[in-house]
């Protein structure tokens, strides 16, 4: 009986140590998952940006057939695309986003000009590209939002008690490193042409 009683404090300590270890492992894994989510959402944006860049030459070709005189806007779109491809190669996030926005703006102006060319507007290929590009535009907006969300949940997990106790230097140095991108203005109802 006396011998048995001696083990009780030891067992209690062992249980406490195991619980702390389990909690620590749980938090560690959570931080890894959250930080992976940031990287994953970033690559989502890139996938969509690349898809858009790939469609542009096709669009320019189609528009050329109907609106030869609009050389200025065509050059603008091509330049913006070139800028995006270069930005993708250089790897800087903010320059990629900036180039993406520039291309989106140029495409918007191109579609506005296309309104003056009824034949172009009736072109099957053009219509399809237009739907495709507007759907990509939505996806980029949602991907940005997801990127910002994942940064916020990561930062929160690391800074809020009790997560901040378990976050080692490795994660603490990552918090606040990621910069949120301005969310794209989303029109309530998209006009369909």
């Amino acid at each position: 009986m006396a011998l048995w009683a001696l083990f009780i404090p030891l067992i209690i300590i062992a249980v406490i140590v195991v619980i702390i270890l389990l909690v620590w492992v749980g938090y560690y894994n959570r931080f890894v998952v959250l930080s992976n989510r940031i990287k994953n959402s970033l690559s989502q944006i890139d996938v969509q940006l690349k898809k858009r860049a790939d469609l542009v030459p096709n669009l320019v070709e189609t528009v050329k057939g109907y609106a030869k005189h609009e050389a200025k806007i065509m050059k603008e779109v091509s330049d913006a695309r070139k800028m995006l491809v270069n930005a993708n190669a250089s790897g800087k996030m903010d320059s990629r986003i900036k180039a993406g926005d520039a291309l989106q703006g140029a495409l918007g102006r191109l579609f506005a000009i296309a309104e003056n060319y009824p034949n172009l507007k009736a072109n099957e290929n053009f219509l399809q590209l237009q739907t495709e590009l507007s759907s990509i535009e939505d996806k980029i907006a949602y991907a940005r939002q997801a990127y910002n969300d994942s940064i916020m949940s990561f930062d929160n997990a690391i800074q809020v008690f009790p997560g901040n106790i378990f976050a080692g230097q490795k994660f603490k140095s990552q918090a606040g490193k990621y910069i949120q991108i301005p969310e794209a203005e989303r029109a309530p109802v998209k006009v369909k042409f």
Partner: protein, 307 residues
């Protein structure tokens, strides 16, 4: 620029708001589930006291059997649900807007892309199923595609995506198991009273008190627990609505979809077992809220309006 800054600020405030709402609803759901478990344990304990322990063992076997049964159902829930409503896989080109809406919500929620199905029916409705986010399915009615515009459809899909994100399908299944177990407990006890009546005279007086308590509990517990289950189900709907706003960042989309549902009087014929899975009440019958799986559309709109 100033306007942009201001709207960003508003967006940020909204942000915290609906996140709060989600976590608050989650806590409430957990409390409700704990309550159901306590009822189960107390009921089992009192019945065991009223009878010999051998009966308790039998009850445990019955519970294990029902858990096994529900686990099998859960494992095949997507196939069963899709087959029972006659759903067909959506075509990526033909149903482009639907695919886009699901893909958008999958990007926003950072969940894997669910498989997309369409079921016959003019009513605006939808449901999600599947064991986990990886094997999830979203199914909408033809009425959804005909009557909803893009932001509305995204709102409805966002609601279903949120069910997937919150593991609601698993939660609902577990609740169904526990509630089912309680009703089996009660049934077995009440039936055994008829057969075991003769032997009770041999027992000590203490058992009679427990017998009475057990009798009252056996009659009341299934009813109370069923009401709690319905309350949980309604809470989960509010959570999913808040989640849809988190993904779309656009409450009017879901609000307008709900308004259209309110005006829509098309009936939708689905088997009773799958009815609680749907986006909104399939029958459109007017019951007291206590007995419904979904909160009323007005209440949902009001909650969304506050976000």
């Amino acid at each position: 620029m100033v306007k942009k800054e201001k709207s960003k600020q508003e967006e940020k405030e909204k942000h915290i708001d609906f996140r709060d709402q989600i976590s608050r609803n989650k806590t409430k759901s957990v409390f409700l589930l704990i309550f159901v478990f306590i009822v189960l344990i107390v009921l089992g304990y009192v019945i065991a006291l009223a009878f010999q322990l051998a009966v308790f063992g039998l009850l445990i076997i019955a519970t294990l059997f029902s858990i096994f049964y529900v686990w099998i159902t859960y494992a095949f829930c997507d196939k069963i649900a899709l087959a029972s409503v006659g759903a067909k896989a959506a075509d990526k080109i033909m149903h482009r807007s639907l695919y886009d809406a699901v893909e958008n919500m999958s990007i926003a929620s950072q969940l894997p892309m669910p498989r997309v199905f369409i079921m016959p029916g003019k009513q605006i409705n939808a449901f999600a199923t599947g064991k986990d986010p990886k094997s999830s399915v979203i199914c909408v009615t033809e009425g959804c595609l005909e009557k909803l515009n893009k932001p509305e459809l995204e709102g409805v899909i966002g609601h279903e995506m949120s069910h997937i994100a919150n593991y609601d399908i698993r939660f609902v299944t577990i609740t169904a198991v526990v509630v089912g177990a309680i009703s089996i407990f009660s049934q077995m006890f009440l039936r055994s009273l008829w057969f075991g009546g003769g032997r009770s005279s041999n027992r000590e007086g203490g058992n009679v008190i427990f017998l009475v308590i057990a009798l009252v509990l056996a009659i009341l517990a299934p009813i109370i627990v069923k009401l709690v289950q319905l309350a949980i189900s309604r809470k989960r709907e509010y959570v999913a609505d808040a989640g849809a706003v988190e993904f779309t960042r656009y409450p009017p989309g879901l609000i307008n979809a709900l308004k259209k549902i309110e005006k829509d009087h098309e009936p939708l014929k689905v088997p009773g077992a799958v009815a609680p899975m749907f986006f909104s009440d399939t029958t459109k019958q007017r019951l007291a809220e206590m007995f419904q799986t979904h909160p009323s559309v007005e209440k949902r709109i009001k909650a969304l309006g506050a976000m």
